[in-house]
């Protein structure tokens, strides 16, 4: 089987999984769970196969499938892997089995529908990452909404209806703007060059005047910024995370948020480079605000899921900082930070899910001294906390260090030339490491240390399934922290291309 | 004003009375009667034009309208009767189930 076919199989395996689930008789919950797990594991194996066969030095798309779809509009079915999405696809496939396995004991009603929704979301997320045609991209982007809506709305917590509607309306609002922008973009491309195409490669060549670029960047950017999320468009995240079931939170934090940053990296910034360069100060400002504001808010939360939700806002601020730095080290750092956050946030949410299943409360004050009651759990929790803080040897350090270094290196020339604002922003971002330690350690303090207290004592420590899930994440975190060179070689060509696309002027009147 | 114009004026007047009646009157049966009035006003106008143009189409249409009006009344009256049997009043203002 050719590699391109394997990629298509990876993409459509969840759909086949849904078909298989439909056939399973109702009430056969164990069969459904096992089936789902095996489908996801198969998907992971296939993705890993593609990952190792990925050619680091190749500049274009790999494992490409290009089929004409709507020739009159220039829409093709084009998917492929390149440095932009290879790590994210790997992350998605890696988290798939973990999500399914993590939900085994948590979901007891409408099990079939639940796993079908998980498959559908997986399909949508993978599609968004591998799509190389704007029409296809938008299609997959929108597909993700409904299953997520159902996931939060049916299996969520108390305020799930409010949370899920907020999530959908917020995201949909951005999507509408993006749709208008997409249509306008393709129309402009057609009227200026005569080429009607939705393909990314063609769109990168579009020469739009700067004011048009700015408007389009805002339209696209709004949609992506809501997803990332960037302050001040972030308020859907804490509610969505808190009310979603564990699997939903893991999918949301692990992969969904990366769709926003991926959108910026692949589409938002390279399509409108002149406007991007004009708005760098604003982007930097918002990134730093996200870092600091997110961390400050995480400091005063009493709901353990909210702490992790706000920490996500803070961590993804680093990613935006790295992307805005336009420095190769910063960009690479941003990519690694995306993956690292996916792993740590997923791990933390899984752990919260595990304790919630035992104690049925998310109040931080209800817990204490878990290090004594649940030693194995606490060990994993400590490792994930340290990864979140960015301790060296964990993936969090790789991401944060490279981003901050890149941000500095990228903004130093501006400082020398007289514009000190970007450098000041980068310096402010460094305070994020202190704030990060503050809120995570406060969390660990109340949670793990002090007098032992938990509802529904005595508690059972982690079972084998839970240990395996967490061990997988921890191993990945350390692998990325100690040996990041291997993944980073895969993304270097893409990072360079991104830097090239955004740094060079697209239209003559905009000098860089 | 010659005869044609007079007839058309009468037709228009009848139509107007019927229309206003449907809008203003609250009694269901009166509304039905006003709708019949509108139909017959149209009939009058058709006959006038048919006679003037010596066209047979107008006359045929009149007969069509007779038939349709009759069948419409045949169905409308029972429906209204059923409605009144439920609502126990002839006042159209009482039937607001389509509100909101």
């Amino acid at each position: 089987m050719s590699d391109a076919a394997v990629l298509n199989l990876v993409l459509y395996l969840p759909v086949l999984g849904i078909a298989a689930l439909v056939v399973v008789p109702a009430q056969q919950y164990d069969l459904m769970r096992r089936l789902s797990l095996w489908v996801m594991v198969l998907q992971f194996i296939l993705t890993a196969w593609l990952y190792v066969r990925f050619d680091n030095a190749a500049a274009g798309l790999q494992f490409e499938t290009l089929l004409p779809w709507i020739p009159a509009w220039g829409v093709n079915y084009q998917i492929g892997l390149d440095g932009y999405n290879v790590l994210l696809v790997m992350l998605t496939a890696f988290l798939g089995p973990l999500v399914v396995a993590g939900a085994f004991s948590a979901i007891q009603k409408d099990v079939k529908l639940f796993y079908a929704m998980v498959f559908l979301i997986q399909f949508a997320m993978l599609g968004t990452f591998v799509a190389q045609d704007l029409f296809l991209f938008y299609l997959f982007w929108e597909t993700m909404l409904i299953p997520m809506f159902l996931l939060i709305g049916i299996w969520g917590g108390e305020r799930r209806i409010y949370a899920t509607f907020k999530f959908v309306l917020y995201t949909a609002f951005g999507s509408i703007l993006m749709l208008a922008a997409v249509i306008y973009l393709v129309y402009t491309l057609q009227s200026t060059t005569g080429v009607t195409s939705f393909a990314f490669a063609e769109l990168y060549k579009a020469k739009l005047p700067v004011h048009a670029q700015t408007v389009l960047l805002i339209a696209f950017g709004l949609s992506f910024a809501i997803k990332v999320p960037m302050v001040p468009l972030h308020t859907w995240l804490p509610d969505a995370h808190v009310e979603a079931p564990t699997a939903g939170s893991v999918i949301l934090a692990g992969v969904l948020l990366k769709m926003g940053t991926y959108g910026f990296m692949k589409l938002g910034f390279p399509l409108f480079p002149d406007a991007t360069r004009l708005m760098i100060p604003a982007i930097l400002t918002l990134s730093v605000i996200s870092i600091i504001y997110g961390a400050c808010l995480a400091l005063v939360q009493t709901d353990i899921k909210k702490i992790i939700a706000y920490s996500s806002i803070s961590h993804l601020g680093y990613v935006m900082l790295g992307l805005a730095s336009l420095d190769l080290i910063g960009i690479q750092g941003a990519v690694i930070q995306m993956v690292s956050h996916g792993l740590t946030a997923a791990g933390l949410f899984l752990m919260v899910g595990m304790i919630y299943e035992r104690c049925h409360t998310r109040e931080l004050a209800a817990y204490g001294g878990l290090a004594k009651l649940l030693p194995v759990y606490s060990m994993f929790f400590m490792v994930l906390t340290l990864a979140s803080i960015g301790l060296p040897a964990t993936s969090g350090f790789t991401g944060e260090f490279l981003v901050l270094l890149g941000a500095f290196r990228g903004t130093w020339p501006a400082f020398v030339a007289g514009n000190s604002y970007p450098l000041v922003m980068s310096a402010l971002a460094v305070t994020g490491v202190v704030l990060g330690a503050l809120y995570m350690l406060r969390f660990a303090q109340h949670f793990l240390f002090g007098a032992s207290r938990a509802p529904h004592e005595p508690l059972t420590d982690l079972v084998l399934r839970e240990k395996l899930i967490l061990a997988a994440i921890v191993v990945a975190i350390f692998a990325l922290g100690l040996f990041p060179n291997e993944p980073m070689q895969k993304t270097e060509v893409a990072a360079r291309q991104y830097q090239q696309l955004v740094s060079t002027a697209r239209v003559p009147e905009a000098a860089p | 004003m010659d005869k044609t114009q007079l007839l058309l004026a009468v037709s228009f007047g009848l139509f107007a009375i019927g229309l206003v009646g449907v809008i203003v009157r609250r009694n269901v049966l009166v509304m039905l009667m006003c709708m019949e009035l509108m139909l017959n006003a149209v009939n009058l106008a058709l006959v006038t034009f048919a006679q003037q143009g010596a066209s047979a189409i107008g006359a045929v249409l009149v007969f069509l309208i007779f038939v349709v009006a009759a069948s419409e009344i045949a169905i409308a009256i029972p429906i209204v009767l059923l409605l009144i049997r439920r609502g126990r009043t002839l006042d159209i203002g009482a039937y607001t189930a389509l509100k909101g």
């Binding site: 907020k166 917020y170 001040p232 972030h234 308020t235 504001y293 400050c296 808010l297 400091l299 005063v300 190769l328 080290i329 690479q332 001294g369 030693p375 301790l391 060296p392 040897a393 350090f397 790789t398 260090f401 490279l402 270094l405 500095f408 290196r409 130093w412 310096a427 305070t431 490491v433 202190v434 330690a437 350690l441 406060r442 660990a444 303090q445 793990l448 240390f449 002090g450 007098a451 032992s452 100690l482 040996f483 990041p484 060179n485 980073m488 070689q489 270097e492 | 229309l19 449907v22 809008i23 203003v24 609250r26 159209i92 203002g93 039937y95 607001t96 189930a97 389509l98 509100k99 909101g100």
Partner: protein, 630 residues
């Protein structure tokens, strides 16, 4: 695997073994022996390998040994390696870390024998050793930083070792956060260095600075930033607040981490990067100033403390201040010399305190001790020797190192002054005074212990006393090694001003005098259970309270930094920003949509005649429009 990598990796193996299996092994009778062998054996092995490397270094032409383990990452032209570097300075540090470290490991086998967390303790201790070795052996600032953060982690875990007590756990958190604040400055300095030189290798950067003055980046700025990092780790003002709280951890931890090794990492960093400071007089002046301030203020606080470990903690702060003063006036080798002697006598003092605490079954209040000299003689003798060393008894190790510092504080061409000397000499006087106060109140006089404790008093096991003896001997004779001269190829010594050379001998006598006065003062005030001190105390009650409460700095930080941050986060950001403004506008929009929908829905009255009227009006409007435009 190269030898340097081996030195670093051996304790890591110990951490993995004891971390995963330690708790289970320690429960089994023979298993405890396995834990001990692994935990103590591997550091000793590291020490032996370090000696081998040291001999290799001396045998070779003096060129440093460099080993690259692997490439961490490569981005375009920049690549970051994990590499290790061994020169004379590293040799001294590694030997101290592994040597004193191994001794303290052995001591811990006795001290922590009864503790349920025996396996976990040694796992953490080995983890600490791994990171500390990485710190001192690292070639680039990146590897150093990995070790730097790692020892912070180990410190956090070990300070909060008895985590069921929330105060102890909080002390660990405080240490980590304060260190992190320093780390922020460190990172900024690192970044500046990186894109000026394109590398983080310390030897390259140092050589570049020494070769020519002030390249593109301001040496003073980098110097200050790196010093912020150093002051976080080495507990200088204003980031000193975590060290006294760190005494919550087990005493061997205090000895190893907060006396001999981790807190000296800052000194090591500045000494290693001395090339920067040679060209940064403002930064050096800052270092000397803060070092002197810390030394003096810590000494004043130590005079009023009543917990045996707290006295030693403030003493450590003070001695670290001495080291930074030496760094600030350009006497880098002398600072390392003091680091070396301090490791011996401070470790001995802390371990001796541990022995006392062990003998008294957990009590740490010196006001309720006394008369222990005869009951626990070995502890007393070793403690006394170490006290004499720190106070500056002639020819003991502390005397040599402190005397050199005082001399350079006075006479160095790069910042020596009479004022600086006066402050440091005053601190030395206070040091002698409070250390002998500690000795008297703890060991001499008559017993002020309660009956139960007194019954319990017994000498510590051999694992503890043997280590005490070794360290006491080293405290006594360690100073005869001419370390500053040994380090001169790596750390050039500052020059003393020519005209002041005549003062060298008188200053030495002054140092002896300071020691003697301190000793005499302590004897006078604190013999007979502090009779004279108690009599003289009442008029000074306010001062005493101020000193006892460490000048209320912790409370100040809480008021000025801690609480406002939480308040702003809670009320300004969360309450106002998030809830009122952002969510409020969103929910407001939703309510607006709902209300307008409600208003528009009024058209649907359900009244048939209304609908007909609308139809009529609509059709008339269409007709009119059609007539006009079509």
């Amino acid at each position: 695997m190269g030898l340097l990598t081996l030195i670093v990796v051996l304790p890591l193996i110990g951490f993995l073994v004891n971390g995963l299996l330690g708790t289970r092994l320690a429960a089994a009778p023979l298993g405890k022996g396995v834990v001990t062998t692994v935990a103590c054996g591997l550091p000793i092995l590291s020490f032996l390998v370090a000696i081998k490397c040291f001999l290799d270094l001396l045998a070779g032409s003096g060129a440093p040994i460099v080993e690259t383990a692997y490439v961490w990452t490569q981005v375009g032209q920049s690549h970051f390696d994990i590499a290790f570097y061994f020169d004379r300075l590293t040799a001294v540090m590694v030997l101290i870390v592994t040597g004193v470290g191994s001794l303290i490991h052995i001591y811990s086998t006795g001290y922590m024998k009864e503790d349920a967390g025996y396996g976990r303790y040694f796992a953490y201790l080995n983890l600490f050793l791994f990171f500390m070795l990485m710190l001192v052996l690292g070639r680039s600032l990146l590897v150093l930083f990995v070790g730097w953060e790692g020892v912070g982690l180990a410190s956090y875990l070990l300070i909060g070792f008895w985590f069921e007590d929330p105060e102890k756990a909080a002390a660990g958190k405080k240490a980590f956060i304060t260190n992190r604040i320093g780390d922020a400055g460190f990172l900024l300095g690192m970044f500046l260095l990186y894109f000026t030189f394109g590398t983080l290798d310390m030897d390259t950067i140092n050589a570049a600075f020494l070769a020519g003055p002030a390249p593109a980046v301001s040496a003073s700025l980098v110097g200050v930033l790196l010093f912020i990092g150093a002051s976080g780790k080495s507990a200088q003002i204003p980031l000193h607040v975590w060290l006294p709280d760190a005494m919550a951890g087990p005493t061997p931890v205090s000895a190893l981490i907060h006396a001999a090794t981790m807190v000296t990492a800052g000194v090591y960093l500045v000494a290693r990067m001395h090339g920067i400071y040679v060209h940064a007089p403002e930064a050096s002046a800052l270092i000397a100033g803060i070092g002197a301030a810390t030394a003096f203020f810590a000494a004043t606080i130590a005079v009023a403390q009543t917990d045996i470990k707290k006295v030693l903690a403030y003493s450590t702060l003070s001695q670290l201040g001495f080291m930074f003063v030496a760094l600030g006036v350009g006497a880098y080798g002398v600072a390392v010399f003091h680091l070396y002697t301090h490791a011996f006598f401070k470790a001995c003092l802390f371990l001796g305190a541990g022995s006392v605490i062990h003998a008294l079954g957990g009590k740490q209040d010196i006001m309720h001790m006394g008369g222990l000299a005869r009951r626990i003689p070995v502890t007393f003798v070793t403690f006394a020797i170490a006290t004499a060393a720190i106070a500056g008894f002639p020819y003991m190790s502390g005397f040599f190192s402190k005397d050199e510092i005082l001399w350079f504080a006075f006479a160095s061409e790069r910042g020596g002054s009479q004022f600086l000397y006066a402050v440091m000499a005053g601190t030395a006087l206070l040091t002698s005074f409070y250390m002998f106060r500690l000795l008297w109140l703890t060991f001499l006089g008559t017993s002020r212990m309660d009956h139960e404790t007194e019954h319990h008093v017994h000498e510590s096991p051999l694992s503890m006393t043997a280590v005490l003896a070794v360290l006491a001997v080293l405290s006594a004779v360690g100073g005869f090694l001419p370390l500053p001269h040994f380090l001169e190829p790596v750390l050039p010594l500052a020059k003393a001003r020519e005209e002041l050379h005549a003062m060298e001998a008188p200053l030495m006598w002054a140092a002896v005098a300071v020691f003697a006065v301190g000793l005499a003062g302590a004897w006078l005030f604190f013999r007979a259970n502090g009779a004279l001190a108690d009599r003289v105390a009442p008029p000074f009650a306010g001062l005493n309270r101020l000193l006892f409460n460490k000048y209320y700095i912790d409370e100040l930080y809480d008021r000025v930094l801690g609480r406002p941050l939480v308040w702003i986060s809670e009320h300004a950001f969360l309450g106002f920003g998030d809830r009122m403004v952002i969510d409020g506008s969103l929910n407001g929009l939703a309510r607006l949509a709902q209300r307008s929908a409600g208003v528009l829905a009024r058209v649907q009255t359900g009244n048939l005649q209304m609908y007909l009227l609308f139809v009529l009006i609509g059709s008339l409007a269409c007709l009119a429009w059609g007539l006009r435009y079509v």
